[in-house]
Symmetry: C2
Subunit: 489 residues, 2 copies
């Protein structure tokens, strides 16, 4: 079964879609560009969501919920913001259907036209800042640290499951602060949460950086991001955290009385990660046999397969092992299916990326042993039944670490320093181009020219980039530090 | 502060809205009929959601996510279904905005008209059953037990925070089964989960019943419901569980190969509860001093107020108490605010319905005592500091039970047996009408006539209604059991 998917070397895009479908993560739907997230995919997303939610709450954030619809006039209030989103939004214009009096079936009732069109939220800064105006009066009301988990819609022309879909799920944080310093600090605190989550839970190494003006969020003063490298050498923007300055406060007239009794505009941030992370998870770890899920996010961490099928002797041992694993908080399942043979089951569990598989037969038991297979390395070993729960607990930690280290080694291998445009073009056209670390003259013009010539964009100016005098890889103009270019999802 | 809300006796509707706003549960938004759920309200909703989610998962259900949009043609495939929802749906007709070439600001780009209009889901049977067609082939694929937590939109003309809003949050379960018996069993299993949740967590007594044909979900063969009674004697439908027969399977051509190798249509259920439950929670327990939240759902179960303000001596004791309470899994907060006086704090915590308040002053401590106030009865007592954590743990259990018993006594008091229409009119026009238990001749005509005359609807035929010969309260025609009438939200 496992071999029915395209191999990565054959066609990485097809491989990706095959994994998404065969591992039961998501499906296309009848609605253009919208996906159905299937139960197994959703279970992984729930683990992502619950962990992030915990991290947000531990840093003082609370959840709320704002309307799905945004009046058209709201979107228009912040000039850059509307320019950024106007071209890709779903517009609600009517509120009723009716039977066609001419017999044409069900039609939109023309009498139900809305006075003002509503936009299905592509992001919620506008409706939220319109609300904050009534919530914020004095410095005592600040900071306001609010997050929401929601669906948003952007009318994308080219879609791909999880990576770019018309509707997607995300969280969007929207905070309000009394000072610029505090807002910038919040922006960076969230960037840190995102990077920590990506590395410690998704086992996906990321580079923290700042976006160029050209790649900034529409309405932000500064956009911070985490960028990851996929196995095919393309970059994935995995999360963004925006310092919004006073732009939205001014657009929606949100002022507060400061401690000196003066009116001031409020300082803002917004930040988000989405179901796109699922795409990053897949393309960081998975292989030609299917999905690989890091233990911390795996809905099932350990699966037990009876050899060749359940029997009273095997069942009794399995239930003991399961109880011991569950007592350690390990998520374990017993594959009691009677119809399929072990080989089929092995392939299915590999396809779904379950980190550890135990195979238990009566002969093994007679020897006091079980077979342990790890999904990351495909290694199989015989292990003593005695103390197996501790072995597995340690193994899950080791797998989590191994996945991160392996991905980091790959990522580090594919960061290439380049100092002239010939080399730039050679590297960016490799099968696995990776990140190119190069000097850039700081102008949008050069950035766009490079994109036009190579399809590479500036992914970010790394936060840890060291000062280094150099000259722009395209124009030769002076530059003080390297930025990271890549082709990107 | 607490007295700034309308009293229940003065105007129950105004009281309700005052509670919702003053207890920071929700706000109206700039978008017609859509609400903003504020952080405190959302924290209660999260507790509702998490507990229900746990109960669904414990009974074998899994979560998934289906698209927000439904093609107009899908909604039209099940005749009753579209008739039920056509009059109240948000219709997406375009996918782009543009600058008005005539200088009128941002307008909808007429060139972005969709070939087929999309409806923002009012409920997801159609898009889900269209998907199930590709997921279900054989009896081995059944049952399919899927739930989703989502936002839905129904273009309501008269809205009220939580109770009836254009957009609301809910869960909708959609299950597929091989047999009618199994689907009916699922419908009832869910009704049982809803009733258990309402009574054990919300402390809201409910009556389990069946809806009349007239009140059935659009597209269902049978709708089961839980009905609660609010303090003003009006009923609230708190959850519904539908046996859909093969209606959606036929509309979307979803067949499976049974064990005898024959094609059959799949049997379906759907079921949901929504943010409307928040309205039920408020109107079951709260009073003229504010919200009352049952301990099991309270974001903060215990608040500690230092008298008159924090001090090193008080803080030390408070931190010990908090640690002891947290170790018991009790959610506790210390109100360390330095600006407001205890009286103000007491009123605020009462307004927010925190079940237990401890007031701790240095004089109390010298006596080895603390003051404990319970929100439900307003009772204040001095309790020994020694063993206070056990006292509080027990008290929370007692409060939970007391809220339920109190609400049940009230509900039971307001179920009136009525045997003629004069009495029916007298009871239904009382200040607190409650449920009327009466005979009905079983016709939609009589049901609608009674509604027209009295505004009362048949809330349900209780599942535990005993066989009893009688005659219809309006027409005198024979009837075999009583049904429950009420004015309803």
């Amino acid at each position: 079964m496992a071999k029915e998917i395209t191999s990565r070397s054959e066609n990485y895009s097809d491989w990706y879609i095959d994994i998404v479908k065969r591992a039961n993560l998501a499906d296309n739907s009848a609605v253009r560009g919208c996906m159905v997230i299937k139960p197994y995919g959703f279970a992984i997303w729930e683990n992502i969501r619950d962990q992030l939610d915990k991290m947000f709450k531990e840093t003082g954030h609370v959840n709320a919920y704002f309307p799905l619809f945004i009046p058209k006039s709201f979107l228009s209030k912040e000039a850059q913001h509307v320019a950024g989103f106007a071209k890709e939004c779903a517009v609600v214009t009517h509120h009723r259907l009716m039977n066609d009096p001419d017999g044409g079936g069900i039609i939109v009732d023309p009498d139900s036209k809305l006075e003002e069109e509503l936009i299905v939220r592509p992001t919620s800064e506008t409706i939220i800042w319109d609300t904050y105006r009534t919530w914020i009066n004095s410095y005592r009301d600040l900071p306001l640290l609010i997050n929401q988990w929601a669906n948003v819609v952007r009318w994308e022309m080219r879609t791909r499951l999880f990576l770019r879909t018309t509707e997607f799920l995300w969280q969007e944080g929207h905070t309000a602060h009394a000072t610029k310093e505090e807002a910038v600090e919040e922006t960076l605190k969230i960037l840190d949460i995102y990077a920590t989550f990506a590395e410690e839970y998704m086992a996906m190494p990321v580079i923290r950086g700042i976006k160029t003006a050209n790649e900034r969020f529409a309405g932000a003063e500064e956009t911070y991001c985490i960028e990851a490298l996929m196995q095919d050498g393309k970059a994935l923007q995995a999360g963004t955290s925006h310092f919004l300055g006073q732009n939205f406060a001014k657009a929606f007239d949100v002022k507060f009385l400061n401690e000196n009794n003066q009116q001031e505009y409020v300082w803002a941030t917004s930040w988000g990660v989405s179901t796109r992370l699922m795409g990053g998870l897949i393309m960081t770890h998975s292989d030609d046999d299917g999905l690989v899920v890091p233990p911390k996010l795996a809905p099932t961490q350990v699966v037990i397969v009876p050899i060749p099928k359940p029997s009273p002797v095997i069942d009794e041992v399995v239930h003991k092992i399961m109880a011991a694993l569950k007592a350690k908080g390990i998520r374990v399942k017993y594959d009691m299916d009677m119809k399929n043979r072990p080989g089929f089951k092995f392939a299915e569990h590999e396809m779904h990326g379950i980190p550890v598989r135990l195979a238990i037969g009566e002969r093994d038991l007679a020897n006091g042993q079980v077979e342990v297979a790890r999904r990351d390395t495909k290694e199989k070993t015989q292990q003593p039944l005695e103390g197996i729960e501790q072995y597995i607990e340690d193994l899950l930690v080791e797998i989590q670490a191994n996945l991160f280290n392996r991905a980091k080694a790959m990522r580090d291998q594919y960061i290439t320093k380049v100092d002239n445009f010939n080399d730039f073009e050679e590297v960016i056209n490799r099968d696995i181009p990776g990140f190119i670390s190069a000097h850039w003259d700081g102008t949008t013009e050069t950035e766009e020219k490079i994109k036009e010539l190579t399809k590479a964009t500036i992914r970010c100016i790394p936060l840890d980039a060291e000062a280094e005098d150099g000259s722009c890889v395209l124009t030769g103009k002076p530059s003080q530090r390297r930025v990271l270019f890549a082709k990107a999802y």
